[in-house]
Symmetry: C2
Subunit: 491 residues, 2 copies
């Protein structure tokens, strides 16, 4: 099926409609917004096998993965529904007036988070459901009270169209203002550019490449009114293997990492692209065992030809770098497939070659062999911002490496002990974000309930009569939410 790029006029019309819808949608109760989000989940489920088959056809993802991703998508819609139905997420703060205070009376001030305005969401290639049309960005922005315009990812435009239809149906069924959600197609950068540049747009959500995310970030900052861009872009998710653990657990660790590296043909933002260890007997055993797993790995069909071409090009570039050794490769496969590839390099060569620290999207993983723990620390110090950093170690050994933990905390949004970075739990405690270039704003997460905070800002209400205060801030706490009143939390 072919979709036609939105024209400049269509972009303008969509944004104006989104703005109008926003002005009434933002004032709906959390209960009404929750109804809408739950209806979205229901309507996505109602698409049944049509959605599963379409997604599979457009993305080459296997059925089990598509079904599980659909579950994650409806799951986060319902999670955000629950969040806004409960209501405490607005961080209400009330400070009482003190009319007698000297030298000046204190006014009554109350504060809460309010939506930021119409939001643009760019569909992600590698999560056609969970980070695209009804993905985490859309669901959290709608939960916040923003209207949303999704620019479909051209690689799965039909899937996107189906999900958009479900969201629109949910909007009609629950009486949402028309235009609260809209869906546009665009193969060209111009459509995205026109959307981000529109003065009525107030924030952007994006998951994709560093080049794409950075271009949107620069565009948004050059507007007469700069707006926040939450772009999740580039991470190689280093895994540090500590020596005592490696000597004992090389087998278990190798199997665990082989699975993580090849899972989903390595097409996850949390794929472990870098493994770092002191070069000793344990590491040799680990590499041997890992290689046994990798050579068995079948070639996996990638999301689309562009991603496969890019993977092949980046693997070839990596192999051409000074000091690179191929440790193991999986089955070769077709032009559309990705071949699992494990390479290694001495830390001294790694430290001299910034290119080796850049993300390769696919099942490539580089082992950095350090002469000693000092060289390992030097590798840590040179890391860019990451979504995750992992340490595999014995508990007593990790306690001895507090300094390493201390440094890694500066470099990543999530630290993992004795686990792999793939598998991003959707939970209030999740942080899917990290220092640049992992994201453009390390202060926010893209996964979990706190993702709603990307699309809100605080507003203080001073000396407001009860009748015009938002329900969240009325004296009697009619919504029964957690609030901080005169410095104390209560409900």
């Amino acid at each position: 099926m072919n979709f036609i790029d939105a024209t400049t006029q269509e972009v303008d019309a969509a944004v104006r409609e989104a703005h109008l819808a926003y002005l009434s949608y933002k004032n709906l109760s959390g209960k009404k917004k929750g109804e809408f989000l739950r209806a979205i989940a229901d309507e996505i489920e109602a698409l049944g096998d049509t959605l599963v088959q379409t997604t599979m056809r457009e993305t080459n993802l296997p059925e089990a993965r598509v079904i599980s991703e659909r579950g994650r998508t409806t799951g986060h819609c319902r999670m955000f529904a629950q969040l806004v139905e409960e209501g405490s997420w607005v961080e209400a703060r009330l400070d009482s007036a003190q009319p007698q205070r000297a030298p000046l009376p204190r006014p009554d001030i109350r504060k809460m988070l309010v939506p930021i305005g119409p939001v643009i969401v760019f569909g992600a290639a590698n999560f056609p459901l969970a980070y695209s049309t009804a993905g985490g960005d859309t669901a959290s922005a709608l939960a916040a009270g923003c209207s949303v315009i999704v620019k479909a990812h051209p690689a799965h435009a039909e899937t996107s169209e189906l999900v958009a239809g479900a969201i629109k149906k949910a909007g009609t069924k629950t009486g949402m203002p028309p235009g609260v959600f809209q869906h546009l197609h665009g193969m060209s950068f111009e459509v995205g550019q026109a959307l981000v540049n529109h003065p009525l747009i107030k924030a952007v959500g994006f998951t994709g490449s560093l080049v794409g995310g950075k271009a949107l970030f620069d565009l948004a900052n050059k507007r007469p009114e700069p707006i926040p861009v939450f772009a999740e872009m580039s991470s190689i998710n280093p895994v540090y293997l500590l020596p005592e653990s490696l000597a004992k657990n090389f087998e278990k660790t190798a199997v665990m990492l082989a699975n993580s590296i090849t899972q989903g043909v390595g097409q996850f933002c949390t794929n472990p692209g870098l493994v770092i260890a002191v070069d000793n007997d344990g590491l040799k055993k680990y590499i041997k065992r890992l290689s046994e797993e990798i050579v068995k790995a079948p070639a996996g069909t990638m999301l689309h030809q562009g991603i496969a071409n890019n993977y092949h090009k980046r693997v070839a570039e990596t192999l051409a770098q000074k000091g690179i050794t191929i440790e193991a490769q999986g089955a070769e496969g077709s032009a559309l497939q990705g071949r699992a590839t494990i390479v290694s390099v001495a830390a001294k060569d790694f430290l001299k070659n910034p290119m080796l620290a850049e993300e390769v999207f696919g099942p490539l993983s580089l082992i950095v062999k350090c002469a000693d723990i000092n060289e390992l620390n030097a590798v840590v110090a040179r890391q860019h911002g990451q979504l995750t950093s992992s340490i595999i170690g014995e508990e007593a050994e990790i306690e001895k490496h507090q300094n390493l933990l201390n440094l890694l905390k500066e470099k990543a949004g999530r630290l993992i002990i004795n686990g792999v970075p793939t598998g991003v739990e959707v939970a209030p405690s999740q942080n899917h974000g990290g220092p640049y270039p992992a994201t453009t704003d390390s202060r926010f997460t893209a996964v979990g309930t706190d993702a709603v905070k990307r699309f809100v800002r605080p507003v203080a209400f001073q000396n407001f009569p009860e009748s015009v205060l938002p329900p969240e801030l009325k004296t009697g706490n009619p919504l029964n939410i957690w609030r901080m009143t005169d410095g104390n939390w209560s409900k």
Copy 2:
């Protein structure tokens, strides 16, 4: 006294020291950080009259104002001390492991806010104490666990030097790592530029002009690693006078606004530079009564010659615009003084002239006369982002103008009913911020406890053994802070 600009080498040395200090300071307990902040307050007080006299000499501010500003400064140092001693501000979230969950086990994840890294703070001309060396930016960044380098405002370099000495003394007394706070001078833009461009710097705090703040914002976004800039820049703080109230309360309203406009020679970011009303008999009475107050206003000495020159130039520019009428002026005064000036313009001319919507820093206020409520709404729609918007109205009248409130909420960080924007209460409920150009990031406040959130980011800890978890996240809650565990708040 003359201070010498820091050289590039001095900037680099200071940042490296700040980075080193940060790596140990960030791990100190909230109790230790609180001790440091309280000692800063004590040491500022210990400077006694020397500080008051120096500030008065450098800024032309009267003694009472300087003393009250000092109280505000020591007050917020102690407020942030209390915040970090109590500890719940880190937004701890814990989600338990579910090893039996199908199809995949759920890992243990815990999350908290951690400091972002070394921060640059630029001293503000108009708040030599409360928004300069030990100002809200410095105090909140230190509370967050960041190290701070202050670039002194050249207009009050000696005051800044005195306060810096107090902070350093407090650091020594409470055993802080040397370099956790540093102080540099710089007349030229180059010093600030070198600081913001240094790769080890992770955030910037600024209060000042739109031109200055925007330049820092652009600089920070062009870095190889962009960093957040919290710049509070430009606001004209519109006040809307509703007709019923005006007819009844024109006298009280005129006196209240005359005070707010002339207070501190209008040198507040919350000065009411714009008053908007439907042109009727009430407005005429209001203007008459306001004018009686303004003509009595003595000329006020401004902060420094540059600010006075700029005010005179901007007043002359305003008077030269089409349709501008002078309603009243105060005493003329010297070249270093600002003359209170009330001008008016018809809404139709205002709407055609964007220059009239720009901030004039000083005691100038423009009355926009609207033909009817529709024209008033058109003026609202055209407002830039503001720190505040105020409505003066009868309660019943305000209830009828929900639509106006709804629109104003989109334009400002704080809404005030029957009050003036000047006087920014320091409280958890305060929001001192707003959409661009009021600030560069409307998602954060510069005043109140939540100001700490500008200098932190979340980090998730997955599958961490108790021994290496931060105390805030240990299972037994040893710090006895409010945390969200498996979705529920408890202490």
